[in-house]
Subunit: 110 residues, 2 copies
């Protein structure tokens, strides 16, 4: 078969996996890094910055947008992409919960 069996997992597990998956490519990490580094964030800048062709970057931006990790505003001719703080917080919360539990839990084995 080959397709992920999302229906068998909880909404939280699926959402966390979706967010992680969106971060799961170095180009998309690099895009987030770049959006954090610069003040102005136009797509063509990203194309110049990264070693990938324009359609490929457009695709990665689309995936980050689908995961709601970034938002894009049309600015005349070009598009201003920004990080979506809220969704990053959702991810952060999930993730912090896991690491907090980890700290509480005494390593009883391994």
């Amino acid at each position: 078969m080959g397709a992920t069996k999302t229906e068998h997992f909880t909404d939280r597990q699926n959402q966390l996996a979706t967010l992680a998956k969106a971060l799961g490519h170095p180009a998309r990490v690099a895009i987030l890094d770049y959006l954090l580094k610069v003040d102005v964030c136009i797509c063509s800048d990203i194309v110049n910055e990264l070693p990938l062709a324009q359609p490929t970057i457009s695709q990665h931006l689309k995936e980050l947008k689908n995961a709601d990790l970034i938002k894009g505003n049309i600015e005349g001719n070009s598009i201003c992409y920004c990080i979506n703080e809220k969704e990053l917080e959702v991810f952060q919360t999930y993730f912090t919960n896991i690491t907090d539990k980890m700290k509480i839990k005494k390593s009883t084995c391994c």
Copy 2:
């Protein structure tokens, strides 16, 4: 044409992407959830807990192990899997850096 161009990105970007990718499947999130919930962590328990066949789970465990997010100790007949706190901290650190920068950075656009 089809393979990720890892060589063009920084080690940090690649490592962060690798860790995120390992978390990027609901079954693997569920495995981590389970390892956090229970005290004893035997592979067969995971097989009973999740709605996937044994070889599929074995494969997911392998991926988590490759990403160094879990470790496995042989316990006689079975294997005791545990979360690797250290690697999770690496991920946490990367991720916290991003969200911290986010908080500092004033939203100048979007």
